[in-house]
């Protein structure tokens, strides 16, 4: 496995395969993502989408990996569980490992941006699920990543909180313009947020859709509804007029 300097594209994968104990999970995936694009990875459970994301994040070192990939130097991961350390206040959590002189001031600004200005000194255990995930988002974006890897970050939230988080993520990503790879089960989430949707099946990219719809997107737009049906069908859900 070698790392190239990222040149024209932010993320480049060349024939990337990855397996665990002889079982292939990713099967020769090649992919290029230009800077500043928002890509959603859809797929059924076990399709390899989380494995792909974790490979790009530099995790699972014990996996058998072949092929090449390159990612920017500054990568940040947004996990499904917020992974806030319970023994640190919210602000200490989001500045953990941050090496810049104005960390405190920048952290307070970022907390204000995600609507947690008054929770800077709170213990994580006192936050609701949505607040924890907002703190986690603040921790990721405070690092001004060139690449944001999000692994079903809203999967554990209730439907209303999830809608608010979509709006918040979109707004913050518009401001910083990182490349984003979002792993999700949620077709609507993918359609609302991304410029491009990849459908993974058995460790390969089965479909690649460019999404040209203007923002803000609405689920009742005809093109949205058509894409939604197509994507649901390719995920194995047979629907008519859903």
């Amino acid at each position: 496995m070698t790392f190239h300097r990222p040149l024209p594209s932010s993320v480049v994968l060349r024939d990337l395969s990855r397996g665990f104990k002889g079982k292939t999970v990713l099967d020769r995936i090649s992919l290029e993502i230009p800077h500043g694009r928002f890509v959603a990875l859809l797929g059924e459970s076990g399709s390899g989408k989380t494995t792909l994301l974790r490979a790009l994040a530099g995790l699972d070192e014990d996996a058998e990996t072949h092929g090449h990939f390159s990612v920017p130097d500054n990568v940040s991961v947004l996990f499904q569980d917020s992974r806030l350390l319970p023994w640190m206040s919210v602000i200490d959590n989001i500045t953990l490992g941050l090496r810049r002189p104005d960390a405190q001031a920048a952290a307070l600004d970022m907390l204000a941006a995600v609507g947690l200005a008054d929770k800077a000194e709170a213990w994580p255990a006192t936050l609701s699920g949505g607040q924890k995930q907002r703190a986690s988002l603040a921790r990721s974006l405070l690092r001004e990543p060139a690449l944001l890897l999000a692994d079903e970050p809203f999967g554990a939230l209730d439907a209303l909180t999830r809608m608010r988080m979509h709006a918040l993520l979109f707004q913050l990503v518009e401001r910083q313009k990182p490349t984003v790879i979002l792993v999700t089960h949620d077709v609507d989430e993918a359609l609302l947020l991304s410029d491009r949707i990849l459908v993974l099946k058995d460790g390969r990219i089965a479909e690649d859709h460019a999404i040209g719809l203007p923002h803000p997107r609405r689920a009742h737009q005809p093109e949205f509804a058509t894409l939604r049906q197509t994507l649901l069908r390719s995920l194995g859900v047979e629907v008519d007029n859903v």
Binding site: G58, L59, F79, D81, L85, W87, G97, W123, P124, G130
Partner: protein
């Protein structure tokens, strides 16, 4: 937002109740799967019952004072010994032994747990030794330690130290090893250095396990002392009790037992107090 919703729901429920006071049906008898939480202080019921029966049996002459003194007599004896100054030197001598051993055991136990929990060579060298030590009862070491260190204070403190060392090591080491894999991944993706990881993730994560071990240790240091103070000494609570046995003074024996019980409870309460302070971030979890 969920808070707003639930607040609104409660508000609506409260209104409904105001209009129709009997609208809420009486709860049907649900099967309780776990016992209800005990009100504070009710835990003392058992000890109080036992002491009351004991006292009554003594007064009625069912228990001879030469077999077991009445609790009230023991309290009076204890108070007299405290007043005439004959108790305090023994108490201090015992406390010195117990807490010196405790201190050394905790410091060395934690140091070994860190070395073994955070480095591979440390684990290879230390863990096996402690596991072997764990299998050997402390009291079985007494003859050997007497040959090494004599029958004085050093022997007693050393044996308390080794007794305390084991649970401190085992629990702290297990806590360090059992660190949440999610936190390790987080530390990697945040680019923490090894020293940052140890200071900010591994050690705070192991603190709850350390406090469990500390509570075991404060009880254990007094337990070991009882036996050790039977060996060549003129001071200590254990010595007082042993001498009282020779002279048939069951009241002094009971005083000794009460002192051990009180010290055990107080030590545990102090550790729990410190634990609650240090781990205050957990209070909001409802514990």
């Amino acid at each position: 937002m969920t808070d707003i919703l639930s607040a609104r729901y409660i508000h609506a429920a409260a209104q409904a109740e105001r209009r129709e006071p009997f609208v809420v049906p009486a709860p049907t008898r649900a099967t309780r799967l776990t016992p209800a939480r005990l009100p504070a202080g009710l835990r003392l019921l058992g000890p109080i019952v036992v002491i009351a029966i004991w006292e009554a049996a003594s007064r009625l002459g069912l228990i001879s004072p030469s077999t077991l003194t009445a609790p009230s007599t023991a309290l009076v004896t204890g108070y007299q010994m405290l007043a005439d100054g004959s108790l305090l030197p023994h108490l201090l001598a015992s406390a010195f032994r117990a807490y010196t051993g405790l201190f050394l055991g905790v410091v060395v136990g934690v140091a070994l747990a860190l070395a073994s929990g955070l480095t591979r060579s440390g684990e290879a060298l230390i863990d096996g030794l402690i596991q072997i030590k764990r299998a050997i009862p402390t009291l079985a070491l007494i003859p050997l330690v007497i040959i090494w260190l004599g029958i004085g204070e050093a022997m007693k403190i050393f044996l308390i130290f080794t007794a305390v060392l084991v649970p401190v090591y085992i629990n702290t080491h297990a806590a360090l090893r059992g660190i949440d894999i999610g936190h390790i991944e987080l530390a990697r993706t945040l680019g923490l250095t090894r020293s940052e990881f140890i200071r900010k993730v591994a050690l705070p994560g192991a603190l709850p396990g350390f406090f469990v071990s500390l509570r075991l240790a404060v009880a254990l240091c007094w337990t070991a002392l009882v036996v050790l103070e039977l060996i060549n000494t003129q001071t200590g609570i254990g010595y007082l009790m042993n001498r009282a046995r020779d002279w048939g003074q069951t009241d002094i024996i009971v005083v000794g037992i009460l002192i051990y019980a009180a010290l055990g409870l107080v030590s545990d309460a102090v550790v729990r107090l410190i634990e609650a302070r240090v781990l205050s971030y957990r209070r909001s979890l409802g514990s």
